[in-house]
């Protein structure tokens, strides 16, 4: 790929133990182009979240990157010092976690949580922050007059959208989303991902999307990588992963959950 925004090259990550080390990510390479949505699918423990954390250098010991490079817009993330890292996180790569809606500070109003970030990174005054906060809330379909509310006054789906709005505040080039809608129900999930899809067309950021729901992933992603035991066993366009999976594990993943839309392999029912 020419000029990928994110390029993970031959990345290996180990969890260092007392006696043995556990290799969570094993020689993984993939690229994400500007404006592209790339999906990583696999079971718990396959290393997909470890990669997500490593991209913003948020992994903590005992996790150790023992090989490879992570290039974001031409810079190697692994070479950044503390100051550069502080300017890199949020500015270039933002992250949404699975339980992100619980990551808002419960005792601060929404506007102060935006101000925290905008003051620190952009030196905004309160009035400037409020203006930017209104813009960002509007992007995720939340009325701007609710910025004076506290997190508990919002539903789970709205809180998740607020977190996404905070992620967009510094106009990052890449948003890493680790199971962003797993805790939400289908209608809310659809509304949120549909909005993110429109926003990435409009604002041009890339998304690294992690989930275990392959059906959802095919709907949302341009390209998909399938992980098994720390290895990237298959990658291809969403259409290819859906219609013509080549690796046995990908086929097994497709067979392992009942699909509502495809004719289900109905087993005999007790009548």
């Amino acid at each position: 790929m020419n000029n990928p925004l994110l390029s993970v090259q031959d990345l290996s990550i180990e969890y260092v133990g007392d006696k043995t080390d556990f290799r969570a990510v094993d020689h993984v390479s993939f690229d994400v182009a500007p404006g592209e949505v790339f999906g990583l699918a696999g079971e718990s423990g396959c290393g997909k979240s470890t990669i997500a954390f490593a991209i913003s250098r948020l992994h903590k010991p005992p996790a150790l990157i023992c090989g490879g490079n992570i290039m974001v817009a031409g810079r190697n993330v692994l070479d950044l010092d503390a100051n550069e890292l502080a300017r890199f996180r949020w500015h270039e790569v933002a992250m949404v976690f699975q339980s992100a809606m619980n990551s808002l500070n419960p005792v601060l109003r929404i506007e102060s949580q935006f101000h925290d970030l905008l003051k620190r990174h952009r030196g905004y005054s309160k009035a400037q922050s409020r203006e930017r906060c209104a813009e960002l809330l509007k992007l995720v379909d939340i009325p701007a007059d609710r910025m004076r509310d506290y997190p508990f006054q919002f539903s789970g789906g709205m809180r998740q959208r607020i977190v996404i709005a905070i992620c967009l505040a510094l106009e990052p080039k890449l948003i890493v989303m680790d199971e962003p809608t797993t805790a939400l129900d289908v209608v809310v999930q659809r509304e949120i991902l549909q909005r993110i899809n429109e926003l990435r067309r409009q604002l041009g950021f890339s998304v690294l999307f992690i989930t275990h729901d392959l059906g959802l992933m095919v709907q949302f992603c341009d390209r998909i990588g399938i992980m098994l035991d720390g290895k990237l066993v298959e990658q291809g366009t969403a259409d290819q992963i859906y219609r013509a999976p080549t690796h046995d594990y990908t086929k097994k993943l497709w067979a392992s959950f009942p699909s509502f839309h495809a004719p289900a392999p109905r087993q005999e029912n007790a009548q």
Partner: protein
């Protein structure tokens, strides 16, 4: 189906929560039967009243209106003894397999406790034999699993222990509240199949509560769609899913992930304004019941 009597029935159950002056409708006019050898799925969004419904059946909440029947007789005995007798027959499996087992105790202990409480006829080696039989029933190897602690087990294995625990009590009705939503896709199906097999072999009645329509379609014979404390549409699972009548059911089904439709396709767009309109409409009281087929009903605001 007519020859199969209901084990637990709800008749016109209602429940309102009072938050100061504010009233929240938790359940309104719920009527359904749980029958041996059948699975009834209850689907809806978060906050639709699914768990309230489960708690009313477990008698954690006392309904404000209506009746709960057990084998045709109203349940009225609210003494600890009466509750224990009822819960011997009606048991629950919770969503979070990581939180519902005590981390300080072994699997063996978790299964001995219900046996000591509900199966007092078993003594000595008979208890050990029963624990092993239960573990085999949920497809776990007793020699390996019994001495382990919950943290040694995967989520799927833990959920199997929870199922074994309900069987230890000798439950006839199992209320499963999102039993697979926290499990990996690859183990999900194994747990669902185990529940299906229990239902067939032991004649259990199962209430499967979920927001995942795809798995409901897979395990259940009947389905109910709930929103705002009301059951808006119910009946045979194929009839409801292939020919939904209520606007809310249609919207819910259209939001189920479908790899055939890309988000980029403008035709597939779910308009937030119309979603809200459907929700607002679904919140209103729907006093009128209409028939769409032999075993397919829905509610309507107008006669």
């Amino acid at each position: 189906m007519t020859a199969n009597p209901a084990i637990v029935s709800l008749q016109n159950i209602g429940k309102t929560f009072h938050l100061g002056a504010h009233k929240v409708r938790g359940a309104h006019d719920l009527s359904f039967d749980l029958k041996g050898g059948r699975t009834l799925a209850l689907v809806g969004e978060s906050g639709s009243g699914k768990t309230t419904c489960a708690r009313i059946i477990m008698r954690e909440y006392i309904a404000d209106e209506g009746q709960l029947l057990f084998h045709g007789a109203p349940v009225t005995d609210n003494t600890p003894k009466g509750l224990k007798q009822y819960r011997k027959n009606v048991q629950m499996i919770f969503q979070d397999p990581f939180a519902s087992l005590n981390p300080a105790h072994t699997v063996d202990y978790h299964l001995r406790r219900p046996l000591a409480l509900y199966r007092r006829d078993l003594k000595g080696k008979a208890v050990t034999d029963e624990v092993h039989a239960l573990l085999r029933q949920v497809e776990l190897d007793p020699e390996i699993v019994a001495p382990k602690h919950p943290h040694d087990l995967s989520g799927g294995q833990r959920q199997r222990i929870n199922i074994a625990r309900t069987l230890a009590v000798g439950a006839k009705v199992i209320i499963a509240d999102e039993p697979t939503s926290m499990l990996d896709v690859s183990v999900r199906q194994g747990v669902l199949e185990l529940l299906n097999r229990m239902k067939r072999d032991l004649g259990l009645a199962l209430l499967y509560i979920t927001h995942d329509v795809a798995t409901a379609h897979y395990v259940a014979e009947d389905i109910m769609v709930m929103y705002g404390g009301q059951i808006l549409e119910w009946g045979d699972v194929n009839a409801v899913l292939s020919n939904p009548q209520h606007d809310y059911t249609r919207m819910l089904l259209s939001a189920v992930p479908n790899p055939e439709i890309r988000f980029d396709d403008p035709q597939s767009r779910l308009d937030p304004a119309s979603v809200n309109a459907v929700r607002e409409q679904a919140k209103q009281l729907h006093p009128h019941i209409k028939t769409a087929g032999p075993n397919h009903f829905y509610r309507h605001t107008a006669p």
